[in-house]
Structures are given as structure tokens and as C-alpha cells.
């Protein structure tokens, strides 16, 4: 038993020593990337609206994982708090409340499928052509590898250099909030104009 433990821990030490940080990062990268990509495909193909939302959750989680790998921890946590934990839950809330049956399904028409696929294909081909031509050259703004982004620097940037966009986005959110409150308030609709006899009979004919 002791020997077995010794052997296991020894081999684990060897394996862990050999797995350099790069390899771990690469494995995690492919894990997260494939997770978000697979979930995105699931999201598009699923016909059940709640499953679609769940697939979106996994896409967002995968992206958050990628942010963690890029050392952008704040962004990753914000991704979790705002998108996965905040926005998406409201989407699911809305979906569950508005769908008539709990098993609401998407029934896309053939035309819609063709249009959507062709638009996606055009975009995809454009991307492929761009990749084929040249990889994007990145500007000099990039941080040196492994640099951390301290949260306090981020805060200073938001309230310093990016003050105007920051404040403007809060104005925008105010507008959105007012709009949402308005649309949710439930206004009294005016009764539709009373139908004349001829209109009624026309309607009856149409329905029969």
C-alpha cells in the first residue's frame, strides 16, 4: 500500500513537473473554446427555447474561462456577474413567462432557414477570405505577455481617460431603464374602433 502510494505520488510529481504551464494553458484553452463553440452550435440548432438559453449560458461560461486564461480576471468575473448571472437569467425569466407552454419550440420556416444560412455563409466566407489574405496585424497597444491588469488601474482608467464614455453609458442605461419601465407598465389600450356590420360580415366570411 505504502509502495503504491509512493509510486502514484512519484508519477504524479513527474507528470505535473513535466506539464509546463503552457501545456496546461493550451489544454484549458481548447477546453473552454470548444465548450463555447459547441454550446453556440447547440444554441442555434436547438428548437426548444429554454435549452437555447441554457446553451447560451455555456457559451458565456466558456468565454469567461477564456478571459481567465488571458489574465483578464476582472473581465471574466464581470462576464459571470453581468451576462451569465444577470442578463441571461432575465432572458430565461422572460422566456419562461411568455412562452405559452413550457415546451415552446421554434418552428423556423424553410425560407427563414435559407436566408439565415446564406447570411451566415456570406459572413463566414468573408472571414475566411480575410484570414486567407492576411492575419490582422495588431497595434502596439498590447500589454507585454503575462502582465496583470490590476483592478484599481482599471478603475482609474474608467474615471480618467474614459470618463466621457463611462458617464455616457450610464446615461444610456438610464434611458434603457426608463424605456423598459414604460413598456412594462402596461398602458391602457384604447378599444379598437367598433366594427361596422359590413366589416363584421367580411371578417366572418374570412374566418369561416
Amino acid at each position: 500500500m505504502r509502495l503504491f502510494l509512493q509510486l502514484t505520488t512519484d508519477s504524479m510529481t513527474v507528470i505535473l513537473a513535466q506539464t509546463s504551464t503552457e501545456l496546461t494553458t493550451a489544454v484549458l484553452f481548447y477546453l473552454f473554446a470548444s465548450m463555447s463553440a459547441a454550446a453556440a452550435v447547440w444554441m442555434v440548432l436547438s428548437r426548444n427555447i429554454v435549452r437555447t438559453a441554457v446553451a447560451l449560458l455555456f457559451t458565456l461560461l466558456g468565454v469567461a474561462g477564456l478571459y481567465f486564461l488571458l489574465d483578464a480576471e476582472f473581465l471574466a468575473a464581470v462576464q459571470l456577474v453581468v451576462y451569465a448571472g444577470g442578463t441571461l437569467i432575465l432572458i430565461i425569466f422572460g422566456v419562461m413567462l411568455t412562452s405559452k407552454s413550457p415546451y415552446s419550440k421554434f418552428e423556423p420556416k424553410l425560407v427563414e432557414v435559407i436566408v439565415a444560412v446564406s447570411v451566415a455563409a456570406v459572413l463566414f466566407v468573408a472571414l475566411l477570405m480575410a484570414i486567407n489574405n492576411s492575419m490582422p496585424t495588431f497595434g502596439t497597444d498590447a500589454q507585454p505577455a503575462g502582465a496583470r491588469y490590476p483592478v484599481d488601474l482599471l478603475g482609474q482608467a474608467l474615471l480618467g481617460d474614459y470618463l466621457v464614455p463611462f458617464e455616457l453609458s450610464s446615461v444610456l442605461l438610464l434611458v434603457v431603464m426608463i424605456g423598459a419601465a414604460y413598456l412594462a407598465k402596461g398602458r391602457k389600450h384604447e378599444a379598437p374602433p367598433a366594427l361596422t356590420t359590413s366589416e363584421l360580415s367580411r371578417q366572418a366570411k374570412r374566418w369561416s
Binding site: 510529481t13 505535473l16 476582472f74 437569467i89
Partner: protein, 476 residues
């Protein structure tokens, strides 16, 4: 084997922490039942083992052996996914809890025969560790019994490093916990929806509305503490509470921010979906809420997640408000408990024992907070849904916003100038914060008198003869 643990300390910490948390969960259930029986003047479980101590094992066996039932019309994927999702996120959130400060280790390693002795020495520093200074490299001439010097001589390297006594140290720890815990709601929502049962569905809807509402004051009250210290790292927040005001009162945030603490406590009660906030599963209205259709291990996962979630949130509460691993007054007698290596950073210690004692202290405080959870659950009746929403939107959110403003102002006027990294809450600032808390409370109580009355549906119904009705009932 010891070397393996020395080089990968986080693995052992992770194994032990998760084992301990999951083991504790089982005994928390026992504690819950015992608490209930104390409150209700009963004896509680006492058949299995002495004082019912083996009851959790019996419960576990029962869960495993029960029929694993799934309704025919349930959504197969989501029905199983929901409890898994819930337990996974709760377990992940344990990762950033700062159990025992930082451990500083000095090791001497034999690097004989390595081409670059320094690099070879550094490679023995664990990946989560930070090296202190440069490794010292010495040549030691090894001698035979006869006294002859053998070639080559041995090369010994001495490295000093410190590693955090927690699973993962993130510089955004608090935010990480908030983010990950906010995912726990998916378990409730998806479980309720996938069951295809109207009671489950109603429970899921209630849970969503409740958790979304209470996340706002929860985040805002955490933000008050974050603003005080200028860091999101839970370990640093704990470390900055390790001092005294006037050599007597521990510099814990619960003394500077009592109102924030109360709001935080209310919010974590709501986030845990426990009475008096257990509208998602209230038996009298919704049978069992979102887990009506669950049985066997799937139900057990929900059950475990509830208690594990309590552990995490209580631990965060301890770290934010009760000085984490800080053992008050004892470190006057035994200074090693509060550092000793680096005067500016009391969390660093060279002794593993100290780390373990600290972890134990942290854990004890956490269990104390959990006891409050149970105490509250068996003492208070459940809220009505509109009261629940009113508490969040009309009371907690405005109050936490006010607290945030007060904290910001105090930090602005009393915060230490210059390097915020070593900022601690000084005596003046502590007094100002306390006054601010009291002022917010008084202001809220005053303003609440001026606010328009809540809608008609929320008024007390004065049933004749009840204590709200002053008219005397005719005798006989």
C-alpha cells in the same frame, strides 16, 4: 510524498477543503435538525449512534438507495443538468476562500549536477508561490568516512517562498464569488422548468425574481467593504482587519459597518433560499417548489448545494466582517498567530501549525454564522411574496446605496493618503463609519415615515379580535 505536497500545496488544500466542506454539509444537516428540535423543545435525532451522530450516514444511505425517479414528461437533459450545475458552481466558489493567510517556507534542495543551479532551485517553488529574495546556493564538500573530499561536491540551494493557504488566490476574489454564486440560480430555475410541473415552475419563477432582486443589495454591501480597503482580494481584506483599535477592539468590519453587515446577512439568507425567504419551495403553497419532482441523489445534490452554499456565503461573511482567520486577543499572548515575518503584512507566517489554527478559527466562525441561519429559519415565519420584494426594492437597495455613499465619503475624507495598498482602517475612520451607519439607519427610519404608503393590498387586515384591532370584542 512530502515533497510532492510541498511543491503543489494547493492540491492538498483543495482536497482537504472540499472534503471538509462536503463532510461538514452532512453534519450541518444534523445540526439543522438538532437546532429545530431545540427551538421546538424536542430531542431530535438520537437513534443512530450516540446523540444521533451517525444520522448523516444513514441519511446518505437512504438517498443512495431510493428509487431514482424522473417524470415521463420532464425535459431529460435539463432535469439532470440542473442539480449538477448547482452543486458544481457552489463547489467552485469554495476555491477563493482565504483559509489561513500566507505560509512562508524555506527549503533546502539538493541541486547537485544541475547546469543552472538557480533555475533548478526556482523550479521547486510551487506554481502558486511567490519567491522571497533570491535562492542561496552553496557548495558543500561531502567527505567520506576516511575524511577525503569527494568530487563533485554537493550543491545545495535554499529557497524561500510564500504561498497562500487557500486553493486559488485571485485578485478579484469577492467578485468571483459573487459571479459564481449568481450562477447557482440556474439550478433552481432549470430544475423547476424541466420538471414540467406547475408547482415546480412557480417555485422557479419565484426563485428567479427573488435572487435577482437580492443580488443587488448583496453586491452593493460588498462594495462598501471593497471601497474601504481598495481591493477585491478576500485574503487582503482579511489581512487588513488584523489589528486593534485602542489595543482592545479587533478592527473587524462588523464594528465599523454594522448596518452593512445586517444587510449582507439578510441578502445571503435570501440567496440561500432559506426561511424566511424560502418562497421557492414553501411546502404549504408549492408542495416542494422547484424540487417537487426530484428524488434520490438528484434531490440530494440540491440539498447538498443548499448547505454548501450556506458554508460559502457564511465564509464570505466571516472574511468580510469578522476578520477571517483572525483570533482576537490570543495573538497578544502568542504573536506568531498574527504574522511576525513582515510587520506590514500580518497574514504571512512561517509555521504550518499557525495556518492550521487559523483555518480552524475561520471554520469555527463560519459555523457560528451558519448557526444564525438555522436559528432564524426555525424562529421566523415566511414572508409573503410582495413583502419579500418590498424588502429588497424599497428598503435594502436604497439603504445599501446610501451606505455606499456614506462609505465613499468617509473613505475620501478619512482614508490614508498615498499608498492605498497598505491602508488600514484607522480609529478616526472607524468612528466616522460607525456614525455614518447610525446616521443612515436614523435617516432611513425618518424618511420611511414620509414615503407614500404602500399599495392597498399590503395593509394589515384588521381582523376583529386580532391584536391589530383595538375595538373591544363583546364578551361572551
Amino acid at each position: 510524498m512530502i515533497e510532492f505536497f510541498q511543491e503543489h500545496p494547493w492540491i492538498i488544500i483543495a482536497l482537504v477543503a472540499h472534503g471538509a466542506v462536503l463532510g461538514t454539509v452532512a453534519y450541518l444537516i444534523l445540526l439543522e435538525r438538532k437546532t429545530a428540535s431545540w427551538v421546538q423543545d424536542r430531542i431530535g435525532p438520537n437513534r443512530v449512534g450516540p446523540w444521533g451522530l451517525l444520522q448523516p450516514i444513514a441519511d446518505g444511505l437512504k438517498f443512495i438507495l431510493k428509487e431514482d425517479y424522473r417524470p415521463a414528461s420532464a425535459d431529460k437533459v435539463l432535469f439532470s443538468l440542473a442539480p449538477c450545475l448547482m452543486i458544481i458552481v457552489i463547489i467552485i466558489s469554495i476555491a477563493v476562500l482565504p483559509w489561513g493567510g500566507e505560509h512562508q517556507v524555506t527549503r533546502t534542495i539538493d541541486v547537485t549536477g544541475q547546469t543552472d543551479a538557480r533555475l533548478a532551485a526556482i523550479s521547486h517553488v510551487p506554481s502558486v508561490g511567490v519567491m522571497v529574495g533570491e535562492p542561496k546556493i552553496e557548495q558543500i564538500a561531502a567527505t567520506t568516512d576516511a575524511g577525503e573530499v569527494m568530487a563533485p561536491a554537493r550543491t545545495l540551494a535554499t529557497v524561500t517562498y510564500r504561498y497562500p493557504f487557500q486553493i486559488a488566490k485571485l485578485n478579484i476574489g469577492v467578485l468571483f464569488i459573487l459571479g459564481v454564486l449568481s450562477l447557482a440560480i440556474y439550478g433552481v430555475v432549470l430544475g423547476g422548468w424541466a420538471s414540467n410541473n406547475k408547482f415546480s415552475f412557480l417555485g422557479a419563477l419565484r426563485a428567479t425574481a427573488q435572487m435577482v432582486s437580492y443580488e443587488i443589495p448583496l453586491g452593493l454591501s460588498v462594495l462598501c467593504i471593497v471601497i474601504m480597503f481598495g481591493t477585491l482580494d478576500l485574503g487582503e481584506i482579511v489581512e487588513k482587519q488584523v489589528s486593534y483599535w485602542g489595543h482592545v477592539i479587533p478592527a473587524w468590519n462588523v464594528f465599523t459597518q454594522p448596518i452593512t453587515f445586517l444587510m449582507f446577512l439578510i441578502c445571503i439568507h435570501a440567496e440561500a433560499n432559506r426561511a424566511p425567504f424560502d418562497l421557492a419551495e414553501c411546502e404549504q403553497e408549492l408542495v416542494g417548489g422547484y424540487h417537487t419532482e426530484y428524488s434520490s441523489m438528484r434531490f440530494a445534490l440540491f440539498f447538498l448545494a443548499e448547505y454548501a452554499g450556506m458554508i460559502t456565503t457564511s465564509a464570505v461573511c466571516v472574511a468580510l466582517f469578522f476578520g477571517g482567520w483572525h483570533i482576537p486577543w490570543l495573538d497578544k499572548i502568542w504573536p506568531a498567530l498574527s504574522g511576525g515575518v513582515d510587520p506590514t503584512n500580518p497574514s504571512i507566517t512561517t509555521s504550518l501549525t499557525v495556518c492550521l489554527i487559523r483555518t480552524f478559527a475561520f471554520f469555527t466562525k463560519t459555523v457560528a454564522i451558519i448557526f444564525i441561519f438555522m436559528w432564524v429559519r426555525w424562529s421566523l415565519p415566511r414572508f409573503r411574496f410582495d413583502q419579500l420584494m418590498m424588502l429588497a426594492w424599497r428598503a435594502l437597495i436604497p439603504m445599501s446605496l446610501a451606505m455606499l455613499m456614506v462609505t465613499t465619503l468617509v473613505v475620501y475624507y478619512f482614508g490614508t493618503e498615498g499608498n492605498r495598498a497598505y491602508m488600514r482602517v484607522g480609529g478616526k475612520m472607524a468612528v466616522a463609519l460607525m456614525i455614518g451607519n447610525v446616521a443612515v439607519l436614523a435617516g432611513t427610519m425618518f424618511i420611511s415615515k414620509l414615503l407614500p404608503a404602500p399599495p392597498e393590498t399590503n395593509r394589515r387586515v384588521r381582523v376583529i379580535g386580532s391584536r391589530f384591532n383595538r375595538t373591544s370584542v363583546a364578551a361572551g
